[in-house]
C-alpha cells in the first residue's frame, strides 16, 4: 500500500504539488488523471524517489520514501518497476540486455535462467523473438511494450506507468491496456497509471483520482467518477475545452 500525505513540490518557485493526499490500495490498478502539466508525472516520480518533495510523506509499506537516504531508496526501488512515457530504453543495449540488466545486477540467476525469464516476459507483452533488436529498430508501441516487460522483469510489487498510451494509435493503445490488465491479474501487482486518456482509465482502473492545480479533487471508483456531479470532473470526462478547466 502507498499512502501519500500533504505532499508539496515546487520547481524554481512554481508550485506543482500543493498538498496531495492519496491512498493507493495494494493489488489494484490506480489511475491518476489530470490535464497536461498538472503534476501527474511529478507525483509518480515522487513515489519512486526520482523527485524529492519539499514536504509531506510518501509511505510505501510503512516506510517514508520522502525522507530516505539514497542507499535505502535503492533498496525500496527493488519493489518497483516503472514504464516511462518515452519508454526510456537504454539505446546502446539490445532488448535482451535492457531486460536482463536488473536481473544481472540484483540476482544470482544463471545466464540460462535470465534468458528464459526474458523470453517469458517478452511473450507476456506479445513480442517474442525480438531479443537481439536495438531500441532504434522498434516502433513506439513496441518500445512501450518492451519498457513494460523491463518494468515487470524483477516481479515487482508495484508498477508505475507514465502515460502508457500517449502517442499510440487506438489499437496499439488498447494492446497496452490489455497488457496492464493482464500483468495486474497474472502477477498480482499494484499498478499506478498516470494518464489523460479517459478510455484507458475506465478500461483498466479499479480506482481513479483526479489531480488539478496540484491537489486531488476527486478519488473513487470509475463508475463514481463517471457519475460525479463535480463540474471539473464532468468537463474532464466529456473532454470539453470550455469553462472551468480551460488551461
Amino acid at each position: 500500500m502507498i499512502e501519500i500525505q500533504k505532499l508539496y513540490k515546487s520547481f524554481n518557485g512554481k508550485k506543482v504539488l500543493r498538498g496531495v493526499d492519496l491512498l493507493i490500495p495494494a493489488g489494484k490498478t490506480f489511475i491518476i488523471v489530470g490535464g497536461s502539466g498538472c503534476g501527474k508525472t511529478v507525483l509518480l516520480r515522487s513515489i519512486i524517489g526520482l523527485n524529492k518533495p519539499d514536504s509531506g510523506q510518501i509511505m510505501v509499506d510503512g516506510e517514508d520514501v520522502a525522507k530516505m537516504s539514497r542507499k535505502d531508496l535503492f533498496y525500496v526501488r527493488k519493489k518497483f518497476g516503472m514504464l516511462f512515457q518515452g519508454a526510456a530504453l537504454f539505446d546502446s543495449m539490445t532488448v535482451e540486455e535492457n531486460l536482463g540488466l536488473a536481473l544481472k545486477e540484483h540476482t544470482d540467476l544463471s545466464q540460462d535462467k535470465i534468458r528464459r525469464r526474458i523470453e517469458e516476459k517478452l511473450e507476456l507483452v506479445g513480442l517474442p523473438g525480438i531479443e537481439k533488436k536495438k531500441p532504434a529498430e522498434l516502433s513506439g508501441g513496441m518500445k512501450k511494450r518492451v519498457g513494460s516487460a523491463r518494468a515487470i522483469i524483477m516481479s515487482p510489487e508495484y508498477v508505475l506507468f507514465d502515460e502508457p498510451t500517449t502517442g499510440l494509435d487506438p489499437i496499439m493503445a488498447d494492446n497496452i491496456n490489455q497488457l496492464i490488465i493482464k500483468t495486474n491479474q497474472e502477477l498480482k501487482i499494484t499498478s499506478v497509471v498516470v494518464t489523460h486518456d479517459m478510455a484507458s482509465a475506465f478500461k483498466i482502473g479499479n480506482r481513479i483520482a483526479m489531480l488539478l492545480d496540484g491537489k486531488i479533487v476527486f478519488e473513487g471508483t470509475p463508475s463514481k467518477f463517471k457519475k460525479s456531479l463535480d463540474p471539473l470532473v464532468q468537463q474532464f470526462v466529456e473532454g470539453r475545452a470550455d469553462s472551468i478547466l480551460a488551461m
Partner: protein, 256 residues
C-alpha cells in the same frame, strides 16, 4: 559597470558550482570503489573506447608534435647551441610537457566531450532515471567505470605518445636537419631522467581522471533536450581543456 561586475560574479559562482559538483561526484565514485572488481568488464569496455579507439588520433598528434618540436628547437638553437643537444632538449620537452598535455587535450576533445554527450543524452531521454528505477546507481554503473578508464588509460596513451613523438622528432632531426641517428639518441640517453618520465605520467593520471570526471559530472546534470546535450558537450571540452592547462601549471610548480 554594474553589469560587468555582475557578469564576473556570475562567472565566479559558476566556477564554484561546477567545482563543487565535480568534487561531490568524485566522492561518490570513491565511495563506490568496492564495486570495481565486480564492474571490471564495464571498466575494460570503457578502457577500450578511451584508449584503443584514441590510438589513431594520438599517433597523428604525437608524430607531428615530435616533428615540430625538433624543427622549432633547431631554429632556437641556431648560432647558440650545437644541434648535438637537440635530442636531449626535445626529449625532455616530450616527457615533461608535450606528450602529457597534448594527449590530455586530445582525450578531453575526444573522450571527455563524448562522455558528456552520451550521459547527457541518457539524462534527457530519462535513461538515467530508468537506471535509478531499476535500483542501479548511475554513479556506480556509468561514472565510476569511465573515471577508472580515463585514469588508467591516459598514462598508457602517454607512454605510447612518448615513443611516437620521439620517432617524429628523430625523423625531422635526421632527414631535414642532418643530425645523425647516433648523435640524436646519444643525446637523448645522456640527459635522460627517470623523474621526467614519472612526472609526465603523474600529470597523465591527473588529466585522465579529471577529464573523465568533468565529462561525467556535466553529462549527468544535462538538461533541455538536444540543445542541452550540445551545450554539455562544449562545456565538457572547454572545462576539461582549462583543467588540463591550469592543472599543468600547478603540477609543474609542485613537481619541478
Amino acid at each position: 559597470m554594474t553589469v560587468f561586475f555582475r557578469k564576473i560574479g556570475r562567472g565566479v559562482l559558476t566556477i564554484f558550482q561546477e567545482t563543487g559538483a565535480v568534487v561531490v561526484l568524485l566522492y561518490q565514485i570513491v565511495t563506490s570503489v568496492r564495486y570495481a572488481l565486480r564492474d571490471k568488464n564495464l571498466v575494460l569496455s570503457q578502457m577500450f573506447r578511451t584508449g584503443f579507439e584514441s590510438l589513431p588520433l594520438v599517433s597523428v598528434v604525437s608524430v607531428f608534435t615530435g616533428a615540430v618540436a625538433s624543427w622549432q628547437a633547431a631554429y632556437q638553437f641556431r648560432g647558440i647551441i650545437s644541434l648535438d643537444f637537440l635530442g636531449a632538449a626535445v626529449s625532455a620537452a616530450i616527457f615533461i610537457e608535450l606528450s602529457p598535455v597534448l594527449t590530455g587535450l586530445v582525450i578531453a576533445g575526444r573522450v571527455g566531450a563524448s562522455i558528456a554527450a552520451e550521459l547527457g543524452t541518457m539524462k534527457v531521454t530519462e535513461q538515467i532515471d530508468a537506471l535509478e528505477t531499476l535500483a542501479i546507481d548511475p554513479v556506480r554503473y556509468l561514472a565510476s567505470p569511465r573515471f577508472a578508464a580515463g585514469w588508467i588509460t591516459l598514462p598508457i596513451l602517454v607512454i605510447y605518445s612518448y615513443l611516437i613523438s620521439h620517432m617524429g622528432a628523430y625523423t625531422v632531426a635526421n632527414a631535414l636537419l642532418g643530425v645523425s641517428t647516433s648523435t640524436f639518441f646519444n643525446s637523448v640517453q645522456q640527459h635522460f631522467a627517470v623523474y621526467d618520465v614519472i612526472a609526465g605520467l603523474v600529470k597523465a593520471l591527473v588529466f585522465g581522471g579529471g577529464t573523465a570526471l568533468i565529462g561525467c559530472s556535466i553529462g549527468l546534470r544535462a538538461s533541455g533536450g538536444a540543445e542541452g546535450v550540445g551545450q554539455a558537450t562544449i562545456k565538457a571540452f572547454v572545462y576539461s581543456s582549462a583543467f588540463i592547462l591550469i592543472g599543468d601549471y600547478i603540477l609543474a610548480l609542485m613537481l619541478f
